[in-house]
């Protein structure tokens, strides 16, 4: 049986004041004498009293403009993926620092997002972050009507039903294409993530457009599911083909590392001499000494900071405008692209990217 915890009435009795006084002692800026507050806090300490956050949000439900539970829903996909776990950690810490709490929901497929949001809304979350997934238009409407701001991370919001923060995937793809063309690759392959995943598709589109501008066409195309193992398998398929590609651009670092390990281990290839590999994201393992993967970095710290700011601003001014922030990816030249280290200053595109990333994100209200 759950033991009863002390309530504000218990504290009031012990401190010899009214329950209102206890409530006021715990809310900043309330009209209460310093002496009284001390008396109350002392009694509270003695009883181990902590204001009940649930009851508090119930109570304030009356006062229209401040109903707050202090809870934010965080809906995540592929939590164990190193790219995402870094981001989740940063979200968690950022919100904590500002006094918010996160209700975590891990979903498998895009289709579960609506269900997750519905369930979270029963807890009267004040807002939500949705990672790498979209909600339905229906759900977006429900959230809007309920006054719950949602920020999509890693997805562009369509029709401004929500705010969003993401990387310019098409531009990243174009940067990748530019680098591979500039370094004289001829048989270029692309390894995509899950079928019809917006992120992967955009990177591919930008990549293809970039190749086309250089007068090249894709030599091969494979598809994985953003996991390392799928990268290994796709790598094997690519390298077994008759016309072996001399470069592969992968929709994520995790898959790119799969290709790298497959190329070295199962084909004894020298990277980048016999095969160039280009990733996307810049996860920690990309920088490991034996990997030194050339990739497009997502400035995820700035991106998370931006997402948190957008959400909190909307929490404070619920009728304010949303915001779509698009960040530029930054080409990181390491060792897996042949000839790249010979380019002056890492090539023009890299310089451009660096400049863009340093500034503000492009935005669309």
């Amino acid at each position: 049986m759950r033991k009863r915890t002390a309530t504000s009435y218990d504290v009031a009795r012990l401190a010899g004041v009214s329950q209102s006084a206890v409530s006021r002692a715990f809310s900043a800026g309330a009209s209460i004498a310093a002496e009284t507050r001390q008396k109350v806090l002392a009694a509270a300490r003695e009883l181990g009293y902590q204001p009940n956050a649930i009851a508090r949000s119930m109570s304030s439900a009356r006062h229209a403009d401040v109903q707050r539970t202090g809870i934010i829903g965080l809906i995540v996909t592929r939590l164990p993926d190193p790219f995402f776990s870094q981001i989740i950690d940063m979200f968690s810490r950022s919100f904590q620092l500002q006094g918010w709490h996160l209700l975590l929901f891990s979903v498998e497929a895009e289709a579960e997002v609506d269900r997750a949001l519905t369930e979270l809304m029963r807890f009267k979350i004040d807002g939500a972050i949705v990672m790498s997934a979209l909600m339905s238009d229906h759900m977006a409407g429900v959230c809007r009507r309920a006054g719950i701001p949602v920020v999509l991370y890693n997805r562009r919001a369509s029709r401004s039903e929500a705010s969003s923060v993401c990387i310019d995937n098409a531009d990243g793809g174009a940067q990748a294409a530019g680098l591979l063309l500039q370094t004289g690759h001829g048989r270029i392959a692309f390894l995509g993530g899950s079928h019809h995943d917006a992120t992967s598709d955009d990177r591919e589109a930008g990549f293809l457009a970039g190749l086309e501008r250089g007068g090249l066409r894709l030599a091969a195309r494979e598809e994985g599911d953003f996991t390392f193992d799928s990268g290994v398998e796709a790598g094997k398929r690519l390298l077994l083909s008759r016309e072996r590609p001399d470069a592969v651009f992968c929709a994520s670092d995790v898959m790119a590392l799969g290709v790298l390990h497959a190329a070295q281990e199962y084909f004894g290839l020298s990277v980048p001499r016999e095969l160039s590999i280009l990733g996307f994201d810049d996860i920690p393992a990309a920088a490991w000494p034996r990997h030194q993967l050339t990739t497009i970095r997502q400035p995820y710290r700035a991106m998370v900071r931006e997402a948190v700011e957008i959400l909190i601003r909307q929490l404070e001014a619920p009728d304010g405008p949303g915001r779509d922030a698009v960040f530029a990816g930054q080409l990181i030249l390491r060792r897996t692209v042949r000839g790249a280290n010979l380019l002056p200053d890492g090539g023009d595109r890299a310089r451009e990217a660096r400049a863009a990333a340093a500034g503000q994100p492009a935005s669309h209200a």
Copy 2:
């Protein structure tokens, strides 16, 4: 301004019934006519009504034996670490499946656990999982008095103030020592995690005891902080020493991979011919083709399942006994220990471990 969402009264009015009827329509096993329930559900659908979970837990606070918020606190350390992110993901999914929700709290240091629990208790969590950290005895008492079960993951509970689930770290260390002795290594080093970290200390103690049984002493000792980079740095220090070790046992796979990359990249060493490396945990990257790290596997799926079961059992029978589950680590022979693949069936210890892991965990009520 937050828009008002539909309440049970709104649904009642639309359905032409009382508020009580609406409440009953949403609670299984309540005394209500099927026809009435349908009417209510239809009205609810029309208004987009969802029972308010906050108000529900407020209300049921009166009925002593069932106060439930449905929220479980999850306090985590080192969230981005691949070993932990897998586990967090599994916790998240397991609890979700059973209708519980997780309030996530990411902490940096052991000392923050008490603060985190205190904060979570304001939300009247029904229970908590604490990963890789201990709470103070004081806090344990507070939780016990409040009737909030806590399960420590990856830590042994002292004085049965809480339940716990963890791996037999000392035995894992002993297995590591056994393997290195059996394969004829002579200058053996240990790479620890953070200073005075219980996990690292226990692994070290078991390892040292094992070496001693074989008549060997540690040739060198280094300390990192469980990160890859610290593994690289510690690896450099070890390999620069006059009497270079011929084997290193690392307190975690992440650090072991750091040593591996450092040995190959900065010293051009052949692993395992010139240096054997042994890790602990068996994270996904340990199995990558170019790593093939020999390690002690934690059967984390079974462990998380056990932790969830323990917590839910205590949630349902709050006065029931706690439980300390200790799982056996399983030696996974890959390629980073010289001579290990020559052992019959991977060596006796591996067979033993496999058998132990297949069975029930040892337990101490």
